[in-house]
Amino acid sequence: MRSSLVRQALLLAALAFIPGIGEAIYFRDKVSWQSPIPASEMVTQTQARAWRENTIWVDARPDAEFEREHIPGAVLLNEDRWNELLPQFLTVWSPEKRVVVYCSSQSCNASREVARRLRDEAQLKNVFVLQGGWEEWLKSRK
């Protein structure tokens, strides 16, 4: 009786495995198996706050959202006006400082893109993305 149950469970698991493999092959380019950002490039609010004055907060959201409210002391740097805003950011940047980029929420992509461009194009080191973004900042303020 017990061996029959085990056999049935294994059979069901095997049957479930077949479409699973099929889907993994079919969607191999579409399914992300890894986080797009390595964990070392993400930073929590607690970590970033602990760096104190060595942190440069970068707001990657559109101008209107930045103007409404932003993290105190944050510098606006978005891709809408990258060429215009980058020189302004670079005047406050210093090699010993850590750059923490944020956008609206965990799911937004703007902070990742801005961080990537700062690393790849401007070749800056110590550039991080804030986990949870502005949404998380607001929660911690309550």
Partner: protein, 219 residues
């Protein structure tokens, strides 16, 4: 009992035929904007092929740079329409993928994700876009490499510094590649310049930055 079975069968049949169904002509669009374009617009066409009206509950975009608009709030049976997604290019480069999530009261496809892919041509690849010197660092020039795309060949490059404190020298190194040497006049004080890079015959201007910082450089 027979009446109940009949009523049950009839209700299932009615449910099956009286349904709303929004059919999309395409759920992904690839756009190739010209270098001077400021925005890229994608049109996602649909038709209600069901026998019930379909109501749009919400239309959300994945990025503040994309705005999506539905022509109507409700689509009567048989009617066609479209959702327009406008992607603001700004100073973005390369391939950009943005999504639009559409929620309707259509029980078959309550949520549809529309994908807008914009391939923004990159005329020039500038590497790096920023060079800096630390306080008191040796007065040696630092270089920026500029590579022109095969689709936009560049014969000459004009580089202008916004500050006389930084001098530039452009050298063509072949295969559509240029080297810009930047030399600060002094590294004892904090100073900065924006370098304007203008390829000959192009309406687009590119930028790079140079700066002498307060701290020691590690570049």
């Amino acid at each position: 009992m027979r009446t109940r079975i009949f009523a049950f069968t009839l209700s299932i049949f009615l449910c099956a035929i009286a349904r709303a169904e929004l059919k999309w002509e395409q759920t992904s669009v690839e756009l190739h904007p010209a270098p001077a374009d400021k925005e890229a617009v994608g049109h996602f066409k649909y038709q209600n092929t069901g026998s019930q009206p379909v109501r749009f509950k919400s239309v959300h975009t994945s990025c503040g740079c994309t705005a999506a608009q539905s022509q109507k709030d409700e689509v009567p049976p048989g009617e066609k329409g479209e959702i327009t997604a406008t992607f603001k290019i700004g100073d973005r480069t390369g391939t950009q993928v943005k999504s639009v999530t559409v929620q309707t009261d259509d029980p078959v496809n309550a949520t549809t994700v529309l994908t807008l892919k914009a391939v923004i041509p990159q005329q020039l690849e500038i590497n790096p876009t920023f060079v800096f010197w630390g306080q008191g660092e040796a007065l040696k020039p630092k270089s920026i490499v500029v590579r022109a795309s095969k689709d936009f060949p560049v014969k000459q490059l004009k580089v202008t510094s916004s500050s006389p404190d930084f001098q530039t020298k452009v050298e063509e190194t072949g295969n559509g590649q240029f080297k810009i040497d930047i030399q600060p006049s002094d590294t004892s004080r904090n100073m900065a310049a924006t370098l304007t890079i203008q390829p000959e015959g192009s309406s687009k201007t590119f930028y790079a930055m140079a700066r002498v910082t307060n701290a020691a450089a590690t570049q």
